[in-house]
Protein backbone atom coordinates (compact mmCIF):
# COMPACT_ATOMS: atom_id res chain seq x y z
CA UNK A 1 0.00 0.00 0.00
CA UNK A 2 2.76 2.40 1.04
CA UNK A 3 4.74 1.34 -2.03
CA UNK A 4 1.75 2.23 -4.23
CA UNK A 5 1.43 5.63 -2.52
CA UNK A 6 5.12 6.25 -3.01
CA UNK A 7 4.83 5.27 -6.63
CA UNK A 8 1.85 7.61 -7.09
CA UNK A 9 3.59 10.52 -5.41
CA UNK A 10 6.69 9.87 -7.50
CA UNK A 11 4.58 9.83 -10.65
CA UNK A 12 2.83 13.01 -9.70
CA UNK A 13 6.13 14.75 -9.03
CA UNK A 14 7.61 13.65 -12.36
CA UNK A 15 4.44 14.50 -14.29
CA UNK A 16 4.56 17.74 -16.25
CA UNK A 17 2.64 20.59 -14.60
CA UNK A 18 0.11 20.83 -17.43
CA UNK A 19 -1.11 17.29 -16.59
CA UNK A 20 -1.37 17.84 -12.85
CA UNK A 21 -3.72 20.78 -12.40
CA UNK A 22 -7.16 21.35 -13.87
CA UNK A 23 -7.19 20.71 -17.64
CA UNK A 24 -9.21 23.78 -18.65
CA UNK A 25 -6.89 26.24 -16.89
CA UNK A 26 -3.94 24.42 -18.46
CA UNK A 27 -5.41 24.91 -21.88
CA UNK A 28 -5.55 28.63 -21.25
CA UNK A 29 -1.86 28.54 -20.46
CA UNK A 30 -1.19 26.53 -23.60
CA UNK A 31 -2.65 29.10 -25.96
CA UNK A 32 0.01 31.33 -27.57
CA UNK A 33 -1.41 34.77 -26.93
CA UNK A 34 -1.02 37.89 -29.04
CA UNK A 35 1.27 39.48 -26.46
CA UNK A 36 3.43 36.37 -26.38
CA UNK A 37 3.67 36.39 -30.18
CA UNK A 38 4.65 40.07 -30.10
CA UNK A 39 7.29 39.38 -27.50
CA UNK A 40 8.70 36.29 -29.19
CA UNK A 41 8.91 37.88 -32.63
CA UNK A 42 9.76 41.39 -31.43
CA UNK A 43 7.17 42.60 -33.94
CA UNK A 44 3.60 43.75 -33.65
CA UNK A 45 1.62 40.76 -34.84
CA UNK A 46 -1.96 41.04 -36.04
CA UNK A 47 -4.27 39.02 -38.29
CA UNK A 48 -2.84 40.64 -41.40
CA UNK A 49 0.51 42.14 -40.44
CA UNK A 50 3.87 41.36 -38.84
CA UNK A 51 5.23 44.80 -37.93
CA UNK A 52 5.00 46.73 -41.22
CA UNK A 53 5.05 43.58 -43.35
CA UNK A 54 1.95 41.86 -44.66
CA UNK A 55 1.34 38.25 -43.68
CA UNK A 56 0.63 35.79 -46.46
CA UNK A 57 -2.89 35.38 -45.16
CA UNK A 58 -3.57 39.12 -45.45
CA UNK A 59 -4.82 38.62 -48.98
CA UNK A 60 -6.96 35.58 -48.21
CA UNK A 61 -10.74 36.00 -48.77
CA UNK A 62 -11.50 35.77 -45.01
CA UNK A 63 -9.21 38.70 -44.22
CA UNK A 64 -9.92 40.78 -47.28
CA UNK A 65 -12.19 43.10 -45.33
CA UNK A 66 -9.49 43.86 -42.74
CA UNK A 67 -6.98 44.48 -45.52
CA UNK A 68 -9.40 46.72 -47.40
CA UNK A 69 -10.20 48.81 -44.32
CA UNK A 70 -6.45 49.20 -43.74
CA UNK A 71 -6.06 50.41 -47.34
CA UNK A 72 -8.92 52.87 -46.96
CA UNK A 73 -7.38 54.36 -43.82
CA UNK A 74 -4.02 54.64 -45.58
CA UNK A 75 -5.56 56.39 -48.60
CA UNK A 76 -7.41 58.70 -46.20
CA UNK A 77 -4.21 59.71 -44.41
CA UNK A 78 -2.38 60.11 -47.73
CA UNK A 79 -5.18 62.39 -48.99
CA UNK A 80 -4.98 64.45 -45.80
CA UNK A 81 -1.33 65.17 -46.58
CA UNK A 82 -1.35 65.34 -50.37
CA UNK A 83 -4.42 67.50 -51.04
CA UNK A 84 -3.64 70.43 -48.69
CA UNK A 85 0.03 70.43 -49.79
CA UNK A 86 -1.15 70.58 -53.43
CA UNK A 87 -3.54 73.37 -52.47
CA UNK A 88 -0.79 75.39 -50.76
CA UNK A 89 1.69 74.87 -53.60
CA UNK A 90 -0.74 75.56 -56.45
CA UNK A 91 -2.04 78.62 -54.64
CA UNK A 92 1.45 79.95 -54.20
CA UNK A 93 2.58 79.11 -57.77
CA UNK A 94 -0.55 80.38 -59.53
CA UNK A 95 -0.84 83.56 -57.49
CA UNK A 96 -4.19 82.71 -55.88
CA UNK A 97 -5.82 81.63 -59.14
CA UNK A 98 -8.88 79.57 -58.14
CA UNK A 99 -9.17 77.78 -61.52
CA UNK A 100 -5.51 76.78 -61.43
CA UNK A 101 -5.94 75.40 -57.91
CA UNK A 102 -8.92 73.28 -59.00
CA UNK A 103 -6.90 72.03 -61.99
CA UNK A 104 -4.02 70.96 -59.76
CA UNK A 105 -6.11 69.26 -57.06
CA UNK A 106 -6.47 65.93 -58.95
CA UNK A 107 -2.67 65.73 -58.93
CA UNK A 108 -2.88 65.63 -55.13
CA UNK A 109 -5.45 62.81 -55.34
CA UNK A 110 -3.27 60.82 -57.76
CA UNK A 111 -0.28 61.47 -55.52
CA UNK A 112 -2.18 60.05 -52.54
CA UNK A 113 -3.13 56.90 -54.47
CA UNK A 114 0.44 56.52 -55.76
CA UNK A 115 1.78 56.91 -52.22
CA UNK A 116 -0.64 54.25 -50.92
CA UNK A 117 0.26 51.86 -53.76
CA UNK A 118 3.97 52.33 -53.10
CA UNK A 119 3.48 51.79 -49.37
CA UNK A 120 1.39 48.65 -49.95
CA UNK A 121 4.01 47.31 -52.37
CA UNK A 122 6.75 47.94 -49.85
CA UNK A 123 4.82 46.09 -47.13
CA UNK A 124 4.09 43.19 -49.45
CA UNK A 125 7.77 42.92 -50.32
CA UNK A 126 8.69 43.07 -46.61
CA UNK A 127 6.20 40.22 -46.11
CA UNK A 128 8.00 38.17 -48.75
CA UNK A 129 11.20 38.53 -46.78
CA UNK A 130 9.44 37.23 -43.65
CA UNK A 131 7.73 34.31 -45.35
CA UNK A 132 8.92 31.75 -42.79
CA UNK A 133 7.62 33.82 -39.90
CA UNK A 134 4.34 34.20 -41.77
CA UNK A 135 4.03 30.40 -42.08
CA UNK A 136 4.88 29.93 -38.41
CA UNK A 137 2.20 32.45 -37.42
CA UNK A 138 -0.34 30.56 -39.55
CA UNK A 139 0.60 27.41 -37.67
CA UNK A 140 0.15 29.26 -34.37
CA UNK A 141 -3.34 30.31 -35.46
CA UNK A 142 -4.06 26.68 -36.27
CA UNK A 143 -2.65 25.59 -32.91
CA UNK A 144 -4.77 28.13 -31.01
CA UNK A 145 -7.83 26.89 -32.86
CA UNK A 146 -6.91 23.36 -31.80
CA UNK A 147 -6.62 24.43 -28.16
CA UNK A 148 -10.04 26.03 -28.44
CA UNK A 149 -11.42 22.76 -29.91
CA UNK A 150 -9.97 20.73 -27.03
CA UNK A 151 -11.45 23.24 -24.59
CA UNK A 152 -14.88 22.73 -26.13
CA UNK A 153 -14.47 18.95 -25.98
CA UNK A 154 -13.45 19.22 -22.31
CA UNK A 155 -16.53 21.23 -21.55
CA UNK A 156 -18.76 18.85 -23.45
CA UNK A 157 -17.11 15.89 -21.70
CA UNK A 158 -17.69 17.37 -18.27
CA UNK A 159 -21.36 18.14 -18.92
CA UNK A 160 -22.50 15.10 -20.89
CA UNK A 161 -20.79 12.21 -19.08
CA UNK A 162 -18.90 11.59 -22.27
CA UNK A 163 -16.90 8.38 -22.70
CA UNK A 164 -13.83 10.30 -23.77
CA UNK A 165 -10.73 8.34 -22.91
CA UNK A 166 -8.58 9.90 -20.15
CA UNK A 167 -5.43 8.31 -21.54
CA UNK A 168 -6.07 9.91 -24.91
CA UNK A 169 -6.75 13.23 -23.23
CA UNK A 170 -3.36 13.12 -21.59
CA UNK A 171 -1.79 12.27 -24.91
CA UNK A 172 -3.49 15.25 -26.48
CA UNK A 173 -2.34 17.55 -23.69
CA UNK A 174 1.18 16.29 -24.07
CA UNK A 175 0.95 16.68 -27.83
CA UNK A 176 -0.31 20.23 -27.43
CA UNK A 177 2.44 21.02 -24.98
CA UNK A 178 5.11 19.69 -27.30
CA UNK A 179 3.59 21.50 -30.27
CA UNK A 180 3.54 24.71 -28.29
CA UNK A 181 7.15 24.26 -27.34
CA UNK A 182 8.06 23.64 -30.97
CA UNK A 183 6.19 26.71 -32.15
CA UNK A 184 7.82 28.89 -29.49
CA UNK A 185 11.22 27.46 -30.41
CA UNK A 186 10.40 28.10 -34.06
CA UNK A 187 9.55 31.75 -33.41
CA UNK A 188 12.64 32.25 -31.28
CA UNK A 189 14.87 30.63 -33.88
CA UNK A 190 13.35 32.74 -36.63
CA UNK A 191 13.90 35.90 -34.58
CA UNK A 192 17.48 34.97 -33.80
CA UNK A 193 18.12 34.23 -37.47
CA UNK A 194 16.41 37.43 -38.53
CA UNK A 195 18.14 39.69 -36.04
CA UNK A 196 21.56 38.17 -35.74
CA UNK A 197 22.46 36.49 -38.96
CA UNK A 198 25.91 35.68 -37.63
CA UNK A 199 24.90 34.69 -34.14
CA UNK A 200 23.65 31.20 -34.80
CA UNK A 201 24.95 29.43 -31.72
CA UNK A 202 21.51 28.87 -30.15
CA UNK A 203 19.90 27.85 -33.40
CA UNK A 204 21.37 24.34 -33.37
CA UNK A 205 20.09 23.68 -29.85
CA UNK A 206 16.60 24.96 -30.64
CA UNK A 207 16.48 23.00 -33.82
CA UNK A 208 17.41 19.78 -32.02
CA UNK A 209 14.63 20.59 -29.48
CA UNK A 210 12.12 20.79 -32.30
CA UNK A 211 13.38 17.55 -33.81
CA UNK A 212 13.13 15.79 -30.44
CA UNK A 213 9.60 17.10 -29.87
CA UNK A 214 8.51 15.95 -33.29
CA UNK A 215 9.93 12.49 -32.69
CA UNK A 216 8.05 12.27 -29.36
CA UNK A 217 4.86 13.43 -31.05
CA UNK A 218 5.19 10.76 -33.68
CA UNK A 219 5.74 8.11 -31.01
CA UNK A 220 2.45 8.92 -29.27
CA UNK A 221 0.08 6.13 -30.11
CA UNK A 222 -3.26 7.19 -31.50
CA UNK A 223 -5.64 4.46 -30.39
CA UNK A 224 -8.65 5.67 -32.22
CA UNK A 225 -7.71 7.86 -35.18
CA UNK A 226 -11.35 8.55 -35.99
CA UNK A 227 -12.15 10.08 -32.57
CA UNK A 228 -12.00 13.83 -31.95
CA UNK A 229 -8.92 13.48 -29.80
CA UNK A 230 -7.25 11.28 -32.35
CA UNK A 231 -7.82 13.86 -35.04
CA UNK A 232 -6.44 16.63 -32.83
CA UNK A 233 -3.39 14.56 -32.07
CA UNK A 234 -2.80 14.06 -35.77
CA UNK A 235 -3.17 17.77 -36.34
CA UNK A 236 -0.59 18.46 -33.61
CA UNK A 237 1.81 16.14 -35.42
CA UNK A 238 1.11 17.97 -38.68
CA UNK A 239 1.89 21.34 -37.07
CA UNK A 240 5.06 19.91 -35.54
CA UNK A 241 6.07 18.61 -38.96
CA UNK A 242 5.37 21.99 -40.58
CA UNK A 243 7.51 23.84 -38.02
CA UNK A 244 10.29 21.32 -38.55
CA UNK A 245 9.95 21.63 -42.31
CA UNK A 246 9.99 25.45 -42.30
CA UNK A 247 13.06 25.60 -40.09
CA UNK A 248 14.84 22.89 -42.07
CA UNK A 249 14.24 25.01 -45.15
CA UNK A 250 15.67 28.06 -43.41
CA UNK A 251 18.63 26.04 -42.15
CA UNK A 252 19.53 24.88 -45.63
Amino acid sequence: MSEETNQASQNSSTEPSYLRSSPISNLDNLRISQQEQDKLTDLDISDVTMGWAYRQTAFSPQRRLTWLSEQLLTVGVALIFCLPITLLLSRSLSGDNVQAVWRWLPVGGVGAIALTTFWTGYRWQAGQRLIILSHLLDEIDRFNEMVAAVEILEELGSTQNSQLNLENKEDVLEALHLTRESLVCGLMTERVMRKHQRLMARRQQMFSNIERNLATLQQLQVNDAASDYGRLLNEAIQIGTSVHHELSRERT
Binding site: D38, D44, S46, T49, G51, W52, L73, T74, G76, V77, L79, I80, F81, L83, P84, I85, L87, L88, R91, D96, V98, V101, W102, L105
Partner: protein, 227 residues
Protein backbone atom coordinates in the same frame (compact mmCIF):
# COMPACT_ATOMS: atom_id res chain seq x y z
CA UNK B 1 -2.84 46.16 -36.07
CA UNK B 2 -5.73 47.83 -34.32
CA UNK B 3 -4.92 51.52 -34.55
CA UNK B 4 -7.58 52.74 -32.18
CA UNK B 5 -6.52 50.37 -29.41
CA UNK B 6 -3.08 52.05 -29.39
CA UNK B 7 -4.80 55.37 -28.75
CA UNK B 8 -6.97 53.85 -26.03
CA UNK B 9 -3.82 52.47 -24.39
CA UNK B 10 -2.33 55.96 -24.49
CA UNK B 11 -5.41 57.50 -22.89
CA UNK B 12 -5.82 54.80 -20.25
CA UNK B 13 -2.22 54.22 -19.28
CA UNK B 14 -0.15 57.19 -20.32
CA UNK B 15 2.69 56.30 -17.97
CA UNK B 16 3.28 52.88 -19.55
CA UNK B 17 2.91 54.37 -23.01
CA UNK B 18 5.58 56.98 -22.30
CA UNK B 19 7.78 54.32 -20.75
CA UNK B 20 7.47 52.38 -24.02
CA UNK B 21 8.45 55.50 -25.95
CA UNK B 22 11.43 56.01 -23.68
CA UNK B 23 12.51 52.40 -24.30
CA UNK B 24 11.74 52.64 -28.05
CA UNK B 25 9.21 49.80 -27.91
CA UNK B 26 7.42 49.37 -31.26
CA UNK B 27 7.61 53.03 -32.17
CA UNK B 28 6.78 52.49 -35.85
CA UNK B 29 3.49 50.84 -34.99
CA UNK B 30 2.69 53.56 -32.48
CA UNK B 31 3.44 56.31 -35.03
CA UNK B 32 1.23 54.67 -37.69
CA UNK B 33 -1.63 54.04 -35.29
CA UNK B 34 -1.54 57.53 -33.76
CA UNK B 35 -1.37 59.08 -37.21
CA UNK B 36 -4.38 57.13 -38.47
CA UNK B 37 -6.55 57.46 -35.37
CA UNK B 38 -5.84 61.19 -34.89
CA UNK B 39 -6.54 61.82 -38.61
CA UNK B 40 -9.86 60.04 -38.20
CA UNK B 41 -10.95 62.07 -35.14
CA UNK B 42 -9.83 65.37 -36.66
CA UNK B 43 -11.66 64.49 -39.89
CA UNK B 44 -14.90 63.84 -37.98
CA UNK B 45 -14.62 67.14 -36.11
CA UNK B 46 -13.65 68.90 -39.34
CA UNK B 47 -16.73 67.50 -41.08
CA UNK B 48 -18.92 68.81 -38.24
CA UNK B 49 -17.54 72.35 -38.38
CA UNK B 50 -17.72 72.19 -42.19
CA UNK B 51 -21.41 71.40 -41.86
CA UNK B 52 -21.91 75.09 -41.02
CA UNK B 53 -21.23 75.92 -44.68
CA UNK B 54 -22.67 72.60 -45.89
CA UNK B 55 -22.05 70.67 -49.14
CA UNK B 56 -18.45 70.48 -50.31
CA UNK B 57 -17.30 72.42 -47.26
CA UNK B 58 -17.91 69.28 -45.15
CA UNK B 59 -15.43 67.23 -47.22
CA UNK B 60 -13.02 70.15 -47.49
CA UNK B 61 -12.91 70.72 -43.71
CA UNK B 62 -12.66 66.98 -43.02
CA UNK B 63 -9.41 67.01 -44.99
CA UNK B 64 -8.12 70.43 -43.97
CA UNK B 65 -8.47 70.13 -40.20
CA UNK B 66 -6.32 66.98 -39.80
CA UNK B 67 -3.86 68.50 -42.28
CA UNK B 68 -3.66 71.67 -40.19
CA UNK B 69 -2.53 69.82 -37.07
CA UNK B 70 -0.37 67.20 -38.76
CA UNK B 71 1.38 69.50 -41.24
CA UNK B 72 2.16 71.94 -38.43
CA UNK B 73 3.77 69.03 -36.61
CA UNK B 74 5.84 68.04 -39.65
CA UNK B 75 6.94 71.65 -40.14
CA UNK B 76 7.95 72.14 -36.49
CA UNK B 77 9.35 68.79 -35.34
CA UNK B 78 12.80 69.07 -37.03
CA UNK B 79 13.41 72.36 -35.16
CA UNK B 80 12.74 70.70 -31.81
CA UNK B 81 14.78 67.61 -32.66
CA UNK B 82 17.92 69.35 -33.92
CA UNK B 83 17.98 72.00 -31.21
CA UNK B 84 17.37 69.39 -28.53
CA UNK B 85 20.13 67.05 -29.67
CA UNK B 86 22.42 70.06 -29.84
CA UNK B 87 21.79 70.53 -26.12
CA UNK B 88 22.49 66.91 -25.24
CA UNK B 89 19.27 64.99 -25.84
CA UNK B 90 19.74 61.25 -26.27
CA UNK B 91 16.29 60.65 -27.76
CA UNK B 92 16.06 59.71 -31.42
CA UNK B 93 13.86 61.25 -34.12
CA UNK B 94 11.24 58.51 -33.92
CA UNK B 95 10.83 59.14 -30.19
CA UNK B 96 10.27 62.86 -30.85
CA UNK B 97 7.72 62.10 -33.57
CA UNK B 98 5.89 59.64 -31.31
CA UNK B 99 5.80 62.11 -28.43
CA UNK B 100 4.53 64.93 -30.64
CA UNK B 101 1.92 62.62 -32.18
CA UNK B 102 0.87 61.67 -28.66
CA UNK B 103 -0.03 65.33 -28.02
CA UNK B 104 -1.80 65.68 -31.36
CA UNK B 105 -3.76 62.47 -30.76
CA UNK B 106 -4.90 63.69 -27.35
CA UNK B 107 -6.04 66.95 -28.96
CA UNK B 108 -7.94 64.99 -31.64
CA UNK B 109 -9.75 62.87 -29.06
CA UNK B 110 -10.63 65.92 -26.98
CA UNK B 111 -11.96 67.71 -30.06
CA UNK B 112 -13.96 64.60 -30.91
CA UNK B 113 -15.39 64.63 -27.41
CA UNK B 114 -16.60 68.21 -28.01
CA UNK B 115 -18.29 67.17 -31.28
CA UNK B 116 -21.80 66.75 -29.77
CA UNK B 117 -21.56 70.21 -28.13
CA UNK B 118 -20.51 71.83 -31.43
CA UNK B 119 -23.23 69.93 -33.26
CA UNK B 120 -25.80 71.18 -30.75
CA UNK B 121 -24.75 74.83 -31.20
CA UNK B 122 -24.57 74.33 -34.97
CA UNK B 123 -28.23 73.32 -34.98
CA UNK B 124 -29.50 75.79 -32.38
CA UNK B 125 -27.52 79.01 -32.95
CA UNK B 126 -27.12 80.78 -36.30
CA UNK B 127 -24.29 83.23 -36.00
CA UNK B 128 -20.95 83.05 -37.81
CA UNK B 129 -18.99 85.00 -35.20
CA UNK B 130 -20.40 82.98 -32.32
CA UNK B 131 -19.65 79.68 -34.09
CA UNK B 132 -16.15 80.86 -34.96
CA UNK B 133 -15.37 81.97 -31.41
CA UNK B 134 -16.87 78.81 -29.93
CA UNK B 135 -14.56 76.69 -32.07
CA UNK B 136 -11.55 78.88 -31.38
CA UNK B 137 -12.28 78.45 -27.66
CA UNK B 138 -12.65 74.67 -27.98
CA UNK B 139 -9.48 74.42 -30.05
CA UNK B 140 -7.62 76.60 -27.55
CA UNK B 141 -8.74 74.42 -24.61
CA UNK B 142 -7.95 71.11 -26.35
CA UNK B 143 -4.69 72.47 -27.74
CA UNK B 144 -3.71 73.71 -24.30
CA UNK B 145 -4.36 70.32 -22.69
CA UNK B 146 -2.56 68.44 -25.49
CA UNK B 147 0.48 70.71 -25.40
CA UNK B 148 0.59 70.57 -21.59
CA UNK B 149 0.69 66.77 -21.74
CA UNK B 150 3.39 66.90 -24.42
CA UNK B 151 5.38 69.36 -22.32
CA UNK B 152 5.05 67.12 -19.26
CA UNK B 153 5.97 64.02 -21.26
CA UNK B 154 9.06 65.68 -22.69
CA UNK B 155 10.07 67.03 -19.28
CA UNK B 156 9.76 63.54 -17.76
CA UNK B 157 11.85 62.14 -20.60
CA UNK B 158 14.70 64.57 -20.09
CA UNK B 159 14.51 64.60 -16.29
CA UNK B 160 16.96 62.75 -14.08
CA UNK B 161 20.27 63.76 -12.56
CA UNK B 162 22.18 62.74 -15.67
CA UNK B 163 20.10 64.93 -18.01
CA UNK B 164 22.46 67.45 -19.60
CA UNK B 165 21.59 71.16 -20.07
CA UNK B 166 18.21 70.63 -18.38
CA UNK B 167 17.28 74.30 -17.96
CA UNK B 168 18.28 75.20 -21.47
CA UNK B 169 16.22 72.37 -22.91
CA UNK B 170 13.24 73.38 -20.79
CA UNK B 171 13.38 76.87 -22.26
CA UNK B 172 13.83 75.38 -25.70
CA UNK B 173 10.71 73.30 -25.25
CA UNK B 174 8.71 76.35 -24.14
CA UNK B 175 9.92 78.21 -27.19
CA UNK B 176 8.99 75.32 -29.43
CA UNK B 177 5.45 75.20 -28.05
CA UNK B 178 5.14 78.92 -28.91
CA UNK B 179 6.51 78.24 -32.40
CA UNK B 180 4.04 75.39 -32.89
CA UNK B 181 1.12 77.69 -31.98
CA UNK B 182 2.43 80.42 -34.28
CA UNK B 183 2.92 78.11 -37.29
CA UNK B 184 -0.40 76.36 -36.62
CA UNK B 185 -2.40 79.57 -36.53
CA UNK B 186 -0.77 80.90 -39.70
CA UNK B 187 -1.28 77.58 -41.54
CA UNK B 188 -4.89 77.61 -40.40
CA UNK B 189 -5.24 81.12 -41.79
CA UNK B 190 -3.76 80.00 -45.14
CA UNK B 191 -5.94 76.88 -45.38
CA UNK B 192 -9.21 78.60 -44.43
CA UNK B 193 -12.17 78.52 -44.81
CA UNK B 194 -12.95 75.75 -42.33
CA UNK B 195 -16.54 76.80 -41.62
CA UNK B 196 -17.64 78.27 -44.91
CA UNK B 197 -20.17 81.06 -44.95
CA UNK B 198 -23.89 80.65 -44.85
CA UNK B 199 -25.62 81.33 -48.18
CA UNK B 200 -22.35 81.72 -50.07
CA UNK B 201 -20.85 79.45 -52.74
CA UNK B 202 -18.16 76.99 -51.66
CA UNK B 203 -14.64 78.37 -51.72
CA UNK B 204 -11.69 76.02 -51.66
CA UNK B 205 -9.60 78.85 -50.23
CA UNK B 206 -10.07 82.51 -49.42
CA UNK B 207 -8.15 84.45 -52.08
CA UNK B 208 -7.23 87.36 -49.79
CA UNK B 209 -4.19 86.12 -47.86
CA UNK B 210 -3.69 89.44 -46.05
CA UNK B 211 -4.43 89.77 -42.33
CA UNK B 212 -3.85 87.05 -39.77
CA UNK B 213 -5.61 84.69 -37.45
CA UNK B 214 -5.34 86.86 -34.32
CA UNK B 215 -6.67 89.99 -36.06
CA UNK B 216 -9.68 87.97 -37.26
CA UNK B 217 -10.41 86.66 -33.75
CA UNK B 218 -10.28 90.20 -32.32
CA UNK B 219 -12.53 91.40 -35.14
CA UNK B 220 -15.07 88.66 -34.33
CA UNK B 221 -15.00 89.55 -30.62
CA UNK B 222 -15.57 93.21 -31.49
CA UNK B 223 -18.47 92.35 -33.82
CA UNK B 224 -20.09 90.19 -31.17
CA UNK B 225 -19.78 92.94 -28.58
CA UNK B 226 -21.34 95.44 -31.02
CA UNK B 227 -18.31 97.60 -31.79
Amino acid sequence: MNHFSVLITLLRDRKTFLEDVRNSVKLETKIASLLISSSFFFAVYGAIIGAYGGGLQIISSAIKLPALYLLTLIICIPTLYFFDILFGSKLDFKQYVTLALTAVSVISVLLFSFAPVVLFFLISVKGYDFFLLLNVLIMAITGGVGIKLFYKGMRDMVSGPEAPEKDMRKKLLQGWVFLYALVGSQLGWTLRPFFGAEGQAFQIFRPEISGNFYAKVLESVATMLGF
